[in-house]
Structure formats: C-alpha cells, structure tokens
C-alpha cells in the first residue's frame, strides 16, 4: 500500500501540541517579511509517529538484509560504536570550549590520526574532510599548492584511469585541472605504455584507485608511482577501497603521496541514511605543511605522572580550513572505537575475509554471468548484467529482480568500462549462509531471464514502490513538494 504524504492526512485545525499562552509581548513584524499563508500539515502527534514509523519500515538497510553495493563497503556498523559515541563526555562538549577542557576529545582525535597513519603508512593525517569527495578536493588543493610553491605553473593535467572512481575526475575538474583519461590494459591494470606517453612537464598528478573499481589490485602499482614521480607529478590514492588492504598493504609504503580514507566504508561508521561521511586525508612528509588548518597535535609532552597536553597545531603552508570546526567528530569516535576494538590482527582479518567472500561469490557466479576480467579479485568484482542469448534484458532488470528476493541490488552501470556492469561487494561481515542465499537468487534470476524474461523487466514486484520511471524522474525535476495552486513556496 502506498503511504499518503503527511499533507494528505492533514486536517484543518488539528494540532499535535498545545502551546501555553505567550508571556512575551507581541511585536508586529515588518510587512514584507510576513507570509499571508503558510501551508503546514495539521496532524496529531500519534499520526506523525505512525506516518514516519510506517515509512521507516518500508526502508531497506544493512540491519535488515544483505547490501552488496559495490564500491560502498556496506558492512555491518557495530552497535558498540553508537554506545561509545553517546557517552556524555563526548556529547556534552562543544568545539568552542577551551582545549584544556576537551582533552579527552583531542586525545581521541590525535590517536585516530596516529592509527590511520600507521594503517596506511603516512606521516600526517587531517580528520577535517566531510567525506571522500571533500578528501579528494583537499588532495587536489594540496597538489596544486605544492606545484605552485615550486613555480611549476605549467602543470595543468590530472591523469585519471578509466577504472577510477567517478569522483576523481569531478574533483580534478573542480580545481580547474584538465582531466586526461588513462586506459586500462587487458588485465585491468593501468596501461603503462599509455601512462608513459602522457607523463611530461604538464603533469600535475595521477588519481589512483587501488584496488580499482573492477575490484582488481593494480599489479604494477610500484611502476605506476615511479613513472609519475619521475615526470614530477604526485600520486593521489583514492582509499575508498582500503577495506581490501587493511593490515596487508600500506599505500604509503609504495610512495603514494596523498590518500583519503572513507570512515563510512572501511571503518564502519554509518553509510547511507545521511551518514554523515568522514574522509580523513593522509600525506607524506613532504606535504605535511600543506594540510588543512588545524590538525590535532601534542603541545606539551607528558611523562609518567602527567598526560601530554593536546591541542591544535597550524600547518605552515596550509591550504586553509575546509570544514566547520574539526570535521565530523561523531564519526571519529565510531571509527576510533572500531579500530581500537579490532586491533592490528582484527583489521587484517577484515581484509582477508572481505577478499575471501568476494572471491567466493565471483567463483560461484562466473559460470552463469560473464566475468570480463577473470582474475582473483579483491573485495569486490564486476559482472556483465546481460546475456548474448537473451534479448533485451539489462543490468537494471537483474538489479530490480534481486529486490524481489529481498536483497539490495549491486551497484550497476559502473564502472563504465564494463558493459551493463553489476558491481558486487559482499564485505567481511556476511555469513556463508547469506552468501549462498545470494548466489541462489542470482542463479534463479539467470534462469528466469530465459524462461520468463518479462518477470525481470517488470521487477520489482514485492516492494512498496514498483519500477520507477527513470526517464521521467530525470526530465521532470520537481525539487519542491507542491500541493495545489496555493503552495506558497512556489508562488512567492
């Protein structure tokens, strides 16, 4: 059943709250600032509660079922993260308090910076960026300032492999860089010959997602970094896929200059549902001075008797502040909790299980779906969502049909280098039983595509909302809830 909107259940004059009589003298607001009509829903408190509870029950979430949304690392978010972040010592502090009254918060941020440095092999970390894409912006700003300081003004080109995350070219373009696509070779690695051809004194840098969006580890990562460095460029590592590498491979060790983390992917802070995300950025020693201002440091060393004094330090040639206050502190608490809980061995176990789960699914599915790059994968893999012998069935139809089996669909139509891509990332937190149930559904769908293709084209059948009209959604954009002719938001 379709849930009516909150406006549909509105009845004139009904209220949820009775206000006490005002004890403040009335004041006439200037005419120009007063709207004559303001159409707000008029409902009782119970109606509001029921309406939004019903809506929330129609939602799909990692706490309800398997969510193999490739590239997004939709792992379970342990509830202990929530308990810790709700401790009053954290919730009752304010970022404008004097630093000597928030030493616990600062200790947590400092320690998280140290943990991330150790995990990825870098020399300094900022926790400011709001999420991955802002981390990329920080990275490209640092690359730009680094070259400018050296008088290298002719470096205007950013190389982006065709297997990179879609945000990489967007971040580069936002800074005014010329985005130059870099092709992949037949094994899904960066094409080294093409890379060499494109490396000259116009090169600002390379934005490198490794493992890439095919879920493949670039076997030539050392060579790639060397070629870019020899041409005077910097290598930005997109750390969105760090879940595959924890405790096994450190991007800093092979000379990658800058890397962002997605706490909402790798480190189990909420992803989706508004997050918010968090995208700390790590840099090598030669870029430490460019980090956003401020970062957390030790102002006075401690000893056996006294704890160190933590506070804010200001990188000398900083690109500036990029986020209000100090980033999404609530996410820092959750990521800190997760890392502290798991420890070194626990983190390595995550990567190993994430890779094992992905390879298990890949092996089980590759007989029934085409696997264009047939290699041992990392934490995710990409199948083709169509069959040559089945006319007019697309990745979208398979994705929608999966919803009928109560699974969240995989990422589809990305990466662009695979036709009708279905990008599947199980994460480490799923059981063998769940993986087997997913395989069973995928194999059933492959069968249905041949026996009853219309079933796929009309899917989903069992969801509160059926197939959305994507063309209409993209063309008839409605940004405002509109009710009748007298909706003030439209009229005025």
């Amino acid at each position: 059943m379709t849930e009516p909107t909150i406006y549909d259940i509105s009845v004139t004059g009904r209220t949820g709250v009775t206000f006490p009589e005002s004890d403040v003298p009335e004041y006439a607001l200037p005419q120009g600032f007063v709207r004559q009509k303001l159409q707000l829903p008029e409902v009782s408190e119970l109606e509001v509660v029921r309406h939004f509870t019903r809506l929330s029950q129609k939602n799909y979430a990692i706490d309800l079922g398997f969510y193999p949304l490739g590239s997004c690392t939709m792992k379970y978010n342990p509830k202990i993260n929530e308990s810790v972040s709700r401790l009053s010592g954290f919730t009752a502090t304010h970022p404008l308090q004097p630093a000597n009254t928030t030493q616990g918060n600062l200790y947590l941020m400092y320690t998280l910076q140290e943990m991330l440095k150790e995990i990825a092999g870098f020399d300094a970390v900022t926790l400011q960026p709001a999420a991955g894409a802002q981390g990329e912006l920080v990275g490209t700003l640092i690359i730009h300032k680094y070259h400018t300081d050296r008088g290298d003004h002719q470096r205007t080109r950013m190389l982006i492999p065709d297997s990179a995350h879609g945000t990489n070219p967007a971040s580069s373009a936002m800074l005014g860089y010329d985005v130059v696509p870099l092709p992949s070779d037949e094994r899904g690695n960066v094409d080294l010959e093409a890379l060499k051809r494109l490396c000259d004194d116009r090169l600002a840098g390379l934005m490198f997602t490794n493992p890439n969006t095919l879920g493949l580890f670039d076997e030539n990562v050392c060579e790639v970094v060397k070629i870019v460095h020899e041409a005077g460029g910097l290598v930005y590592g997109d750390g969105a896929n760090m879940n595959a590498l924890l405790g096994v491979f450190r991007p800093g060790d092979v000379g990658i200059d800058i890397l962002h983390f997605n706490l909402h992917k790798t480190f189990s802070t909420p992803h989706g549902g508004g997050g918010p995300g968090s995208g700390p950025v790590a840099v090598q020693a030669h870029l430490v001075d460019y980090l956003p201002d401020p970062i957390v440091g030790i102002l006075e060393e401690g000893d056996d008797e006294t704890a160190p004094l933590y506070g804010f330090v200001h990188p000398e040639k900083s690109i500036g502040r990029i986020k209000a206050f100090y980033g999404h502190f609530g996410m820092h608490i959750r990521a800190f909790t997760y890392i502290a809980m798991l420890g070194q061995e626990g983190l390595r176990d995550i990567a190993e299980k994430a890779v094992l789960n992905a390879n298990y699914l890949q092996e089980k599915l590759k007989g029934s779906y085409t696997l264009p790059y047939d290699r041992i994968c990392m934490h995710e893999f990409v199948l083709e969502g169509f069959w040559k012998d089945v006319p007019d069935i697309h990745a979208l139809d398979i994705a929608k049909r999966l919803m009928d089996y109560n699974f969240h669909p995989p990422t589809n139509y990305f990466p662009l280098i695979v036709k009708e891509a279905l990008m599947i990332e199980p994460t480490e937190t799923e059981t063998l039983e769940t993986l087997d149930a997913f395989v069973e559904a995928m194999l059933k769908i492959a069968g249905e595509a041949r026996t009853d293709p219309q079933l796929l084209r009309d899917a989903p059948h069992n969801t509160p909302v059926r197939r959305a009209d994507e063309l209409k959604a993209a063309k008839d954009l409605v940004f405002c809830c509109y009710i009748g002719d007298d909706w003030p938001g439209i009229q005025e």
Partner: protein
C-alpha cells in the same frame, strides 16, 4: 543497428555528412542505443566558433551515463540544433535526421579520409 551508407563515422560514435562544404554532425544509432534515454544536451560551443577535429562539441546525459561528443572535422560552427535543448529525446528517436547536433563550414575536405565508412564502422562496433 542503423548505419546509413552515405555517412562517414568516427570511432567515438559521431557521424558526419558533408554537402557543399557544410558538415552536419550527430551521434550514431549505436551511440544512442548504448546511452539509452537521453535527458540532457549541453553544447560546449557557440555559432561562429572556430573548432578543430577532436575538440569537445557537446555533453550528452542519459539515465545511465554522460558522454562527450567531439568534432570529427575542423571548421567554423554555423548552426547548432537548439531544439535538442528542450527535446533531447530526438537523439534517441531520430539520430540521423532530426537529432543532428551541429553544422560546420568544413575547413578541409581531406579530413573525411581519416574517418570510417559505413562498412568499417559496422565492423568497429561489432565487438563492443
């Protein structure tokens, strides 16, 4: 897949037809089919611009992806199909007729020799 005999084709799926030195350029049936429903067209050039082969002409956005269209020939832009701004679906419905993108006063007729004929283009898209 429709591949008219009289047109020339570029690897990036643009077609071009030159009549009396005026080149009409669009995207192929294969291109519109791969993109699926087009929802948005944005031109990167204006009338009277001097353009070179390889320059960006327009960005086409569909429900699935965004794609760049590049000039197959050099010359001066003389006409832009503005009806596509409001009715981008013409690119799906009529890629070779009403869905043309840009007309150019072609600078150099010999550039056509670098492009594919219909038979070569048909082979080119076979395995894609």
């Amino acid at each position: 897949m429709l591949i008219p005999e009289e047109l020339k084709y570029q690897k990036t799926d643009e077609w071009v037809k030159i009549v009396d030195g005026i080149a009409t350029i669009g995207i192929t049936d294969f291109a519109q089919d791969s993109l699926s429903d087009v929802v948005f067209v944005e031109f990167d050039i204006d009338v009277d611009d001097e353009v070179s082969a390889g320059d960006s002409m327009a960005t086409i956005e569909s429900v699935k992806a965004a794609a760049e269209v590049v000039f197959p020939v050099s010359g001066k832009v003389i006409e832009i199909n503005q009806t596509l701004i409001d009715t981008p679906e013409l690119l799906n419905e009529s890629p070779y007729e009403e869905g043309w993108l840009v007309r150019v006063q072609a600078a150099d007729g010999t550039e056509l020799e670098n492009l594919m004929d219909a038979a070569a283009y048909a082979i080119d898209i076979q395995d894609r």
